[in-house]
Symmetry: C2
Subunit: 507 residues, 2 copies
């Protein structure tokens, strides 16, 4: 084998350094959400802007461009199908996108994002949309500038430019084409469920559970499933997230309520799915290179939703968890058996909070956000109209009345920190997860039995081998085809949801 | 008044940015000591090196040099006695020192320092000096290179170069001239105490106290004294420290033991003294400028030791604290009265751990470290001989046998992260504190009465006005003269220690 050219080695080193700087930025953000004292907010916003500028300088340096160019004309590096060629392809994509953004815009997005995130936290607590509105204006204005810089693809719209950042290759038209029929099929299913005579009790969800005991249970579950806690943590934040900050450092967060212990449990399982993906990337040898970086948010979300829903809301999982739940949560928990918890955590009930929604209605939340953020970006909707438009859609899609903005349009952190064009990937994640899950169960026919015994190793290995270890080597569409043998389709998700509804509601 | 020249404004902006980057580096270090998962250590070391290199580039940039030069020849900026002139004087000092260090050495110090700190943590737990020795070799070798770059002053030695970094203007000869007679006077005092017939009971120190209750008490004390917790925190680490990480962000750490609650209490008071200094610097308007930066480690330490010892070990403080101690620590605490706590926390007993030592023997610990690190740096002592030399001196100076390296030469974090030339500033801090304390009591004659009522405001204001708000405007020697009217002397400390010994031991 001919030796790796020096330009390639140097390029990987530059990427490694830039990734370390991004990791530092992640640490700053994690700290802001977990432990940072409130008076530090203004200074942290300045720091976020400074570090974002440095990262942007690195990622757009002339040297980086030259080295990518040199590698692109090197046959050894560009050998078809090789890891090196995949790296260069993705480095080119990143470089071309980054160089489209001026440095001052990147700094502004970081600074205003940090400030707006702080403003969102306070506005959400007080359910005060008016206090947050000016920040939302600014973040959408900045995102519009970003999208314009990325450029609108032929026949596309502004939203496509930001969507592509999170889900390479996806377009608004594709999302529309997926969401519209999905919404129809979901509405039919929801109507059937609404008419069902069997209605499982949700009493098991309303037991009292001490936050410290919930935390201990969460750590136990993480350890049993195989999330490496020597290279990770679990903390508490207003909005759960998973943050990767360098090799051997993947941090999850969740939130505890005195009742509804399943919120924290499923929050933890969800973020753990993201975390296992991050821990499964080949960072030891390739940290910072695209092949050791997560592929897309849709694929990322497929991992979190699979552990949360396909695993965590299964009969088998509850069978395994139940005796441990008794140990950690005590008498209150023991009042209900595994079947009752299974049924209760699979009730389909239109509700207000996306991250606490059941599997079926969840996608409706995503569709509403997609419509609103798309309209805000194009200018078809005004920021001041967000609460009204939000509440109108919740009535129409889910048949519920939103009592306040805290539980309405202020519930999610995303828009405040500039994650616009991000929401559709949640539903893409559900679709990928369901399609992979069918394949996994073909490959591992006794998976349910294993899960019921607390044996999660084969599933984790399957995901490590089929998904995690490839990083960005293939596109999401290619990976889906390679892993499941098929193009992405809504059928597996609908089969999964229908089967659940049959099991729980007897329809 | 003529307008501030553009060069000056630009220079302050560059310093502000560099200070924000240093703040980010402090956050990384704080995180490493508090919450970072163990597997992240190697990556964090790389990150520390990357950020140190960036900071060094900024602090040594040609632009920075040009702007300082431009300001130095500007009469408006250099107006004698002005804030701007003080800033330029100190910026020049920093720039000249920084440009003496090559970038690769700065990166190595950061990387190896981060790794060695991790190695120290593990070695200390296992009392395994052999595991730490290679890291100590490396840190001293790197520090030797650093000292050689700074350059040895005429008639001085290598140690002077690093000492000057922490205590501008100090030299080994000056430290010797201070320490030698001080050691003699302390030895005389310790001998008198050893012969004393009255020996206060140390039983009050050995009550059982729940760490969570100790933490709550610590937070209460911080709040009552006036440490701004909305701009700070209190966490737990192996080695207590105070870390400043940008405007509105000063974080303290302490450590809790099930018994000896006074360790954590005095650790917290000590770090709070540092924290009040940081919170008292004029960062709102001048963040990153020398006039909003702490003057020297000796002055910093004067603040921490004053709150820990002059305040925290006073009769008046215990009178105030006692009812609150009962509330937080319960029955066990209530077994002893304020006078008994006062006496117990002022016993003079040669002991192993510096940060837990009494006021009188404390300085002996410092002297031993000074001698050892000075000899290590010059090459007169070998790393392998450190435990032996350490233990020999503990026998000679304090008459005690060191049972293991965990409680001997491995007890402190400093050497692992390159803080060499730092220890003497602890005793300088005691000297400054005692001299200021005499002046404070002249200015505030009813201070004891106020403290006994929990009124700490006047003392805090005095320190804010006389010390904190000046930053690096004056040299430490100048500040001492301005504040106390006299040159630094060991007499106030000896008077303080002798008066305490009289009160407690009746000698």
């Amino acid at each position: 084998m001919p030796p790796t050219p020096a330009a390639y080695t140097q390029l990987c080193e530059l990427h490694r350094e830039a990734a370390h700087l991004s990791a530092i930025s992640s640490l700053m953000n994690w700290d802001q959400e977990t432990y940072m004292p409130p008076a530090a907010a203004a200074g942290r916003a300045d720091q976020a802007a400074i570090i974002a500028t440095i990262i942007h300088e690195r990622r757009t340096s002339a040297k980086m461009g030259e080295l990518i160019g040199a590698c692109e004309s090197d046959d050894v590096v560009m050998k078809p199908g090789s890891e090196t060629a995949a790296n260069i392809r993705e480095m080119r994509r990143d470089y071309d996108m980054a160089t489209k953004l001026p440095s001052d815009l990147v700094a502004e997005l970081a600074r205003v994002g940090s400030q707006a995130q702080d403003a969102w936290k306070h506005a959400r607590e007080k359910s005060d949309f008016a206090a947050f509105a000016p920040w939302l204006e600014r973040m959408f204005a900045l995102t519009r500038r970003k999208a314009e810089r990325y450029g609108v693809p032929a026949g596309g719209e502004l939203y496509d430019a930001v969507l592509d950042e999170y889900e390479p290759g996806a377009t608004s038209a594709m999302i529309d084409a997926t969401f519209t029929p999905l919404r129809q099929r979901l509405t039919e299913l929801l109507n059937k469920v609404a008419d069902a005579k069997d209605r499982p009790s949700d009493k098991p969800l309303n037991i009292k559970a001490d936050p410290a005991a919930q935390h201990a249970l969460g750590l136990f579950v993480l350890g049993q499933i195989g999330f490496d806690l020597s290279g990770g943590r679990l903390d508490v934040t207003a909005h759960p997230f998973c943050s990767e900050m360098g090799p051997g450092d993947v941090r999850l967060t969740t939130r505890y309520r005195g009742e509804m212990f399943t919120d924290a449990l499923y929050g933890t399982l969800h973020e753990m799915g993201h975390g296992l993906y991050e821990q499964g990337l080949p960072k030891d040898a390739h940290f910072g290179e695209p092949i050791a970086t997560a592929l897309s948010l849709g694929i990322h979300e497929s991992q979190s939703r699979m552990w949360e829903n396909m695993v965590g809301r299964s009969k088998a999982f509850w069978k395994w968890l139940h005796p441990h739940g008794k140990k950690f949560l005590g008498k209150q928990f023991a009042k209900f058996d595994a079947k009752e918890y299974y049924a209760a955590t699979n009730t389909v009930t239109p509700s207000l909070i996306r991250v606490e929604a059941d599997e079926a209605t969840y996608n409706m939340h995503v569709m509403i956000r997609f419509e609103i953020e798309r309209a805000l970006l194009s200018g078809a909707m005004k920021v001041k109209d967000v609460p009204g438009e939000w509440n109108k859609r919740y009535k129409e899609y889910l048949g519920i009345k939103v009592p306040d903005d805290r539980r309405g349009c202020l519930q999610d952190v995303h828009w405040s920190c500039g994650l616009i064009g991000y929401f559709p990937t949640y539903t893409l994640g559900n679709l990928y997860a369901a399609q992979m899950w069918e394949k996994i169960n073909e490959d591992l026919p006794d998976l349910s039995k294993r899960i019921a015994k607390g044996k999660f190793g084969d599933l984790k290995t399957w995901l490590n081998q089929k998904v995690h270890r490839h990083g960005r080597r293939y596109s999401a569409a290619e990976l889906c085809k390679r892993v499941t043998g098929k193009e992405l389709s809504a059928d597996p998700l609908m089969r999964h949801l229908t089967a659940k509804a049959q099991a729980v509601y007897g329809i």
